[in-house]
Amino acid sequence: MIHLDTLSRTVDQRIRFVHQLPIEVRKIPLAELLEGYVYQEEVWHAFRTQRGVLYGIYQEHKLSHREIALIELLLLDYEESANRKLERWQQELIDAIHLPIEAYSERTKIEDLDAIHVPFAFPIVTIGLRPKDRQQASHFINEIKGIIASFAEGFDLTYHVVVEPTFVVCIIEWTEESKTLELSAETIASSIVDGMLREAFLEVRAVYAQEILDFNALVQTVRRMLFLALAAEGFQMEQPVIAIDGLGIHELLYSALPTLKKQYGLRVLPEEATKLLGVELEQTVMTFVENDLNMSETARQLYLHRNSLLYRIERIKEVTGYDIRRFSDAATVWAALLFHREGFR
């Protein structure tokens, strides 16, 4: 199903859909259009749906990374979805995924949600899974169900899945027996992520939440899991498994308006400075912050001698004017780099 109406409302006419491309854009290979191609200051973006390719046009600075992700969620379809018959609880969860993506949504407790029949008993553990490469959405769906089934069987767990092309929600009954298996939601999430990588060569990011007690909480959790997965994706974070409360300040930064991100990012680190920093020095800043400004641990993780790390820190100071040995300077450069990574979206 293509939710064009929902989409138009959500992004408030900031995206237009066409079936015919201008002659100049027709020359561009589809692979490039699927990534987004800039023509006359507008992004021409192809979306591959099960019913063919649809072309959307938008001005990049007017849509956030979250909105693009939502567009993909609404547009990308897979073969089962056209014919699937959903129960009410499944439809509610999918509707929750299709709402604007926010860290803390304003949707409050809805009484009739608790009255909905669900085929599982609370408490439950929930894991949200999203492929890192969204072009492999169909491949992801085919593999993820098999992997979840194998692990659930191995752990002897009762589970249900709600499948969207770029986001799969796995619900696991969390009985007293589950608790005695030395299991945790994190272990299961890690095993699924690991299994996808090793057996299907697909990189997946997982967000997990422990012990959800009612359906209202599940709906809110699913929305939040999607937000966290997107924040980690936008900032190109390496960690593949994230706890529902595990992203801290990243949530706030990811929620900032694109215009603010751009102004801040370019003021702290103009394009010229990011070019001079290059991959090596950017990685140095990120690893240094991730390791609480600890020189020894950062040097170890980057396979560097301490003196080489010191040299790099001095070089960063020359290029940016910030001395990342000071917490406030490190945080300033780090946040600006995150915004650059995200493309101010």
């Binding site: 490469d133 492999q136 191995g154 030395e182 272990t187 095993s191 690991d194 991959v279 990685q283 493309g343």
Partner: protein
């Protein structure tokens, strides 16, 4: 068993970031090839493109005789071993190794056969019923290898598989992986930042920097004939000494002159220096620490290679000694025999083995010889 051909491979990310540039390499069947370089050099990206975890922006990847750029990763018939060798905690070693085969609906008898064969090769048959938490680090790494072996792939890809192990275990597993390669007779592509791993394991080494291949050669060739300054400095521990100076000619004699040091270039090298127009031009002299000696016999053999240096630090390594020295402000390291009586503060006469000298063009950083 397969040959791999990487032809004009590029990896570009958005924002004009190019991680790998024009990567060309033919990997022979059963070859053990090591990609080595500092962090961010593109070695892991290249491996991930071979695996299919990263899309290839440009170029051709051929496995066997088939172009596989658009073949899904799981259909490329390869197995990958990662740095993080996490095993499924609730499964026994047998179940861990069998998991992938079970997922692909292999018959039970075939799974049993493959797991037991791999366990025998890795000498972990007695551990098959244990859970991962009851295994040591080395045993866990063997099980991780076992999970890859049971797939019987055309090629093994290994991304820093030993980085999480302690130093002693790393040395042990290095040998084990080399033995495994000989037993399996399959193509191995191994990524590491550790030049010792590269030197000891690879049939050939690919040295990378900033997304470009710097040199592809056997370990011996790379060590003895580095193609440029980067390769010369990256391979070898302690690293090669570099001294900036000039080649000067006087009465048909060529000498390398720098602040506080003058070395006579052997006649056999004159022709190449002239051909490359290196006379009276700034060059960089390279000499490995083990090619600086304090024994008088070397001074007799290479009288033009004698110099004096102030010894700042002496490190006794047991079988040898490292001297860290200052020659008119330039820092040099020598690796000399342990029986030497050189002490901190001495100013010994040392000799450069002139047959082991390297000269690099200062501007291009390419090797002249």
């Amino acid at each position: 068993m397969a040959e791999l051909k990487l032809s004009h491979i590029y990896k570009r990310y958005s924002g004009n970031v190019v991680a790998v540039t024009d990567f060309n390499l033919d990997i022979a069947d059963k070859e053990f090839i090591v990609l080595v370089g500092p962090s961010g050099c593109g070695k892991s990206t290249t491996l991930r493109m071979i695996a299919g975890l990263e899309e290839i922006s440009d170029g051709d990847l051929i496995i066997g005789s088939k172009r596989v750029n658009d073949v899904p990763p799981k259909d490329r018939d390869i197995a990958m071993v990662f740095q993080n060798y996490a095993l499924y905690p609730h499964m026994t070693v047998f179940q861990n190794m069998a998991f992938g085969l079970k997922l692909r609906h292999f018959p039970k008898a075939e799974i049993e056969k493959r797991v037991h064969e791999a366990a025998k090769i890795l000498d972990i048959e007695h551990l098959l019923q244990r859970k991962p938490k009851a295994l040591s680090g080395g045993q866990r790494q063997r099980v991780a290898l076992g999970r890859a072996i049971v797939r019987e792939p055309q090629a093994f890809l290994m991304d820093e598989p030993l980085s999480n192990l302690d130093a002693k275990l790393r040395v042990q597993m290095r040998t084990e992986i080399s033995k495994l390669h000989k037993r399996l007779q399959t193509t191995f592509i191994y990524v590491t930042h550790d030049q010792t791993e590269a030197m000891t394991m690879g049939d050939r080494i690919v040295v990378m920097k900033d997304g470009f291949i710097q040199q592809v050669a056997t370990p011996q060739e790379i060590y003895n004939h580095p193609k440029n300054l980067f390769v010369a400095g990256f391979i070898g521990s302690p690293a090669m000494n570099f001294i900036q100076g000039t080649i000067k000619e006087e009465g048909g004699v060529l000498s390398f002159t720098a602040n506080g040091i003058s070395l006579t270039i052997p006649e056999g090298r004159h022709e190449i220096l002239r051909q490359k127009g290196a006379i009276n031009k700034p060059v960089i002299l390279g000499i490995r620490p083990e090619n600086i000696h304090d024994e008088p016999v070397y001074a007799q053999t290479y009288p033009g290679g004698v110099f004096e240096a102030n010894v700042d630090v002496v490190e006794h390594m047991g079988s040898e000694m490292y001297l860290f020295m200052d020659v008119s402000g330039q820092q040099l390291t020598a690796r000399i025999v342990a029986r030497s009586d050189v002490k901190v503060g001495d100013r010994p006469k040392l000799t450069v083995d002139m047959s082991k000298l390297h000269i690099f063009d200062k501007e291009t950083e390419e090797s002249i010889f």
